[in-house]
């Protein structure tokens, strides 16, 4: 997918003014945040389990080559054809080759974020093969010609009215206004495609080294359909999705649905090991898995490696005050929110997503809810440091930091300057106690809000004074 993260400021400005989007984001926030909070209470030792999951992910990443080799040998033993891809083009070309080798005309697809990364649909369609997204959210945005704004709720930016208009136009049927009726119309439209598609493409939430299996976690059942009905199944995944054992998978499943949708478990957890067996009545004749490495090994060898623990639940974005206000599209690539602010520059080059690591208050809501304890604010801070080292910061910001650094290492001067500024600030605010306009870089702040004035005394003064008082 093409990256447009450099437009973050302009796009997020527009998103903030988009009333429909604001309503949709508000609804989604309520749904995700509240239901997660309720359902984690169901585990008496949530934090212990969270730490264990984080440790398992770390252990697996430290031995990733060995686990991938173990996974591959088990997968091959059960008849899976394993492919590796080092670029988006390579993965896309492999999919098309498998399709052409099997005379595939129609593909049904269960949602895959790796597929979004590689721009798979467009590529496959370019080779004259029809692709139908089947996850309702993905189906909606495919019909609308858009891309997902959230990793687990791809059409969360769309209102019901949007979907009503879209379906009426695309399905050429009377306009429906009820979410249930719209969902069932999509079911009716998609059912024949499940039955006559030649090939199914899914992602993989996990690859289990112990058994050579891939797993997909869904609520709609489209994932199970996609892995069961067509005669060829291709799962696309990336190297970091590997976990050691079935027991480790059970551990992850206590966290993933709870963190993602606030469910104890998702409705359908489908674990696939190889193609149709002798005597089976259903299942694909061929099962291919393509394992991607674009950016992953680079991140593994960098100070951002903790980000690879991610199990793609979306909790960080659901809880992020920035995401909650601007939505996913503003981030300009596949992964929005805090994890996107780390992965987007990490995979695409930090010069292509300058604003993202800065579009965070570092409030650590994301770090607190992450089921595998990724220290997202720390990673964003590391990216900010990298931007400074690489000379990618604006002149104003660089000079401000230099000036601050100069003062910070000169305590006496610092004390004088802050004292002067505190008093001047108090005077500037006058009786209202608010500064309405500031100059230079600071005007950005007062453009949208007032700045409460300092009370006239610095923290240091108050601290020293209190110490004296306490001594007495």
């Amino acid at each position: 997918m093409e990256i447009t993260s450099q437009d973050f400021k302009a796009v997020s400005g527009a998103k903030l003014k988009d009333e429909k989007l604001q309503k949709a984001l508000f609804q989604a926030k309520d749904g995700f945040v509240v239901s997660r909070a309720k359902v984690i209470k169901d585990l008496d030792n949530f934090e212990t389990i969270r730490q264990a999951a984080s440790d398992v992910r770390d252990h697996c990443l430290a031995h990733l080559d060995e686990y991938l080799e173990a996974w591959e040998s088990q997968a091959k033993a059960s008849g899976t054809v394993v492919h590796w891809a080092e670029s988006y083009e390579e993965l896309n070309a492999l999919v098309v080759k498998i399709a052409q080798d099997n005379q595939v005309k129609k593909i049904i697809k269960s949602k895959s974020m790796v597929g979004e990364e590689t721009g798979l649909n467009k590529y496959v369609e370019g080779h004259g093969i029809e692709v139908k997204e089947t996850d309702l959210g993905e189906y909606i945005i495919q019909q609308a010609g858009e891309y997902p704004s959230h990793i687990i709720a791809p059409a969360t930016h769309k209102s019901k009215e949007d979907v009503s208009d879209l379906f009426a136009e695309k399905h050429q049927r009377p306009r429906l206004e009820d979410a249930e009726k719209l969902t069932h119309e999509a079911r009716e439209i998609l059912r024949p495609h499940f039955l006559d598609a030649d090939m199914g493409i899914t992602g993989a939430n996990f690859m289990i080294a112990e058994t050579g299996s891939t797993v997909i976690v869904t609520n709609e059942g489209n994932g199970r359909m996609t892995t069961t009905m067509p005669r060829v199944h291709v799962a696309i995944s990336s190297i970091e999705k590997c976990i050691p054992t079935l027991d480790d998978f059970a551990l992850m499943m206590r966290l993933l649905p709870r963190s993602a949708t606030g469910q104890v478990i998702s409705n359908y957890v489908s674990m696939t090991t190889g193609p149709k067996r002798e005597g089976d009545h259903d299942g694909p004749e061929e099962f291919h898995v393509i394992i991607l490495d674009v950016g992953r090994t680079r991140v593994l060898g960098s100070e951002l490696r903790d980000a690879l623990r991610c199990i793609r639940c979306g909790a960080c974005m659901n809880h992020c005050p920035v995401y909650q206000n601007v939505g996913g599209h503003a981030y300009g690539w596949v992964y929005p929110g805090p994890i996107g602010s780390v992965l987007t520059p990490a995979y695409n080059g930090i010069e292509n997503a300058i604003d993202l690591p800065n579009a965070a208050t570092l409030c650590n809501q994301c770090g607190v809810v992450c089921p595998v304890k990724i220290p997202l604010p720390d990673l964003m801070r590391k990216l900010r440091e990298k931007q400074y080292e690489k000379d990618l910061k604006s002149k104003t910001e660089k000079w401000s930091i230099k000036l601050w650094a100069y003062l910070a290492v000169r305590p006496k001067l610092y004390s004088i300057v802050t004292r002067v500024m505190a008093r001047a600030g108090k005077m500037l605010g006058g009786s209202s106690g608010q500064i309405k306009t500031m100059i230079f870089a600071a005007q950005e702040w007062t453009k949208h809000r007032d700045l409460p004035t300092p009370r006239g005394r610095t923290f240091r003064d108050i601290y020293v004074n209190n110490k004296k008082v306490n001594k007495r």
């Binding site: 430290a62 969360t156 979410a179 059942g221 069961t228 027991d247 067996r277 394992i291 060898g301």
Partner: protein
């Protein structure tokens, strides 16, 4: 070098074998063969009660009967009460049951796109989450629990295990290697992709009815 070799070698150098790897530790071979357990939550509930509670939470309906021979009657009762069609497809394990006596027309075959009711057994069930565990195989048509609008699953009470970990243990000791698909099913198909409104029957069944059998 192939993509595979390139990727594996990049992983090795990224992990700087001997540094990060040793610092984090843990032997791969050992973990894969002993699959150590992770910390579990409190599991001191009654398994059947917990299973029933969780099934209801996941919007499944429940029935309890004392013996396998009563399955057709229970199925018939459920279908009639809910104004559902009384012709169905079921797994071969229910072949010998006297369906016609309960006015149900049962066929032993894979489900097709327009079958309305599918009856399956279950390998086991997980109490912690109210989950049915179905293994694919010669006697276990996967489409039966997937294509029809109504899925009725028969669960033997003594096959209700506490956790997914216990289900894996059972599969390891009884089945050995995994079948093509292990399907964990927890309630009817659903989506909330339109304005977070919960709707049942997205692509799979609209309703799941669980019949717990004593013997």
């Amino acid at each position: 070098m192939s993509a595979r070799e390139n990727i594996l070698s990049r992983i090795r150098s990224a992990n700087k074998v001997g540094e990060i790897r040793d610092a984090i530790g843990g032997a791969v071979e050992d973990r894969l063969t002993t699959h150590p357990a992770s910390p579990l939550p409190d599991l001191t509930w009654n398994d059947t009660e917990r299973f029933k509670q969780r099934c209801e939470d996941a919007a499944s309906t429940l029935d309890e009967i004392s013996q396998m021979d009563d399955v057709p009657e229970a199925v018939s009762r459920y279908l009639t009460e809910n104004n559902l069609p009384t012709s169905l497809v079921c797994w071969p394990e229910f072949k010998k049951l006297l369906w016609s006596k309960s006015n149900v027309e049962a066929e032993i075959r894979s489900a097709l796109g327009d079958d309305k009711v599918g009856v399956t057994g279950s390998y086991c069930a997980v109490a912690e989450t109210g989950t049915l565990v179905l293994l694919s195989g010669q006697e276990h048509h996967a489409t039966t629990s997937l294509l029809p609008e109504t899925h009725i699953a028969v669960v033997r009470r003594n096959r209700i295990v506490k956790t997914m970990e216990e289900a894996w243990q059972l599969i390891r000791s009884e089945v050995g290697s995994l079948p093509r698909q292990v399907a964990f099913i927890s309630g009817p198909s659903r989506t909330a992709d339109i304005e977070m409104t919960l709707v049942y029957g997205a692509h799979g069944p609209f309703r799941v009815h669980v019949i717990i059998v004593d013997s």
